[in-house]
């Protein structure tokens, strides 16, 4: 049996890499991929707790998380597509119309 601390540490590590990706990268699509990575890290900790606590709730939650992630990816990518039509760029520094 794998010790659950190790799996949880893996999940925290992946989450931190995702946070770093959101803060350091400037390409919108790469930022989006980092968000997917953070969602996956959370999924991993859900499965781990679900297994160690003998419950199925975490696994059912992952089903919902993956559906929400798919919906988010579809809507987000279409927003990026329509921003690209006007700005001709993927750099997030140039999307500053709503920036204070």
């Amino acid at each position: 049996m794998i010790p659950i601390e190790h799996i949880l540490l893996l999940s925290v590590l992946l989450f931190t890499i995702g946070v770093l990706g959101v803060m350091l990268r400037r390409n919108v699509i790469v930022i989006f991929m980092s968000i997917e990575l953070m969602l996956n890290a959370v999924n991993l900790s859900f499965v781990t707790f679900s297994r160690s606590l003998d419950s199925m709730t975490g696994v059912v939650f992952i089903f919902f998380i993956i559906v929400v992630a798919a919906a988010e990816a579809v809507v987000g990518l279409s927003i990026i597509l329509s921003i690209y039509r006007t700005r001709k760029s993927l750099n997030i520094e140039e999307f500053n119309l709503l920036k204070w």
Binding site: V60, F63, S82
Partner: protein
């Protein structure tokens, strides 16, 4: 078992670091697909076969193909992260994420989290009924309202994506 877990864990961290450091966004997407596959095999080791299957089918299959499709549709010619110098913002970001890592890791390795009450599905019950049958049963009994809401959410997302991507802005 433990060695295989460490191999897949190392590979998944490696793929995640690829997302963070590779210059070409298409390479980032492919390395993220590798991470998703490794996470899927870790799910198999944790007796969550259903999650492993939808991880590979939906994440590594559908969502990442969508990402790659958009990346190849938009010519990603603009080079980013060209400056490798350490600005104050980057150092601040590093410190902030280090703080996040230490805090969550401290919480996860502490003893408080292991005191939760045990659920009613130990591994023997899951193996007897079958993981997928059990999830299906739960989805259509205890979580039926959430299931209906998620169906409406998917419908709204599909319609929204078509409307946003189709409209011409002047």
């Amino acid at each position: 078992m433990l060695t295989i877990f460490y191999i897949f864990a190392a590979l998944s961290v490696f793929g995640a670091l690829g997302v963070l450091f590779l210059k070409n966004p298409i390479h980032c997407a492919l390395s993220l697909v590798g991470t998703f596959f490794c996470l899927g095999s870790i799910y198999v080791m944790l007796n969550a076969e259903f999650v492993a299957v939808i991880q590979v089918l939906i994440y590594a299959g559908a969502i990442m193909v969508l990402f790659l499709f958009v990346l190849m549709l938009l010519s990603s010619s603009d080079t980013e992260m060209s400056s490798n110098k350490w600005t104050a913002g980057k150092i601040l970001a590093g410190l902030l994420s280090l703080g996040i890592f230490v805090q969550i890791a401290y919480l996860f390795t502490g003893n408080e989290l292991k005191l939760g009450t045990k659920g009613e599905y130990p591994i023997e019950v899951v193996e007897e009924i079958g993981s997928i049958a059990l999830i299906g049963r739960l989805l259509f009994t205890d979580y039926i309202l959430s299931f209906e809401i998620i169906v409406i959410l998917l419908l709204v997302a599909v319609i929204g994506a078509v409307v946003i991507a189709k409209r011409k802005f002047h």
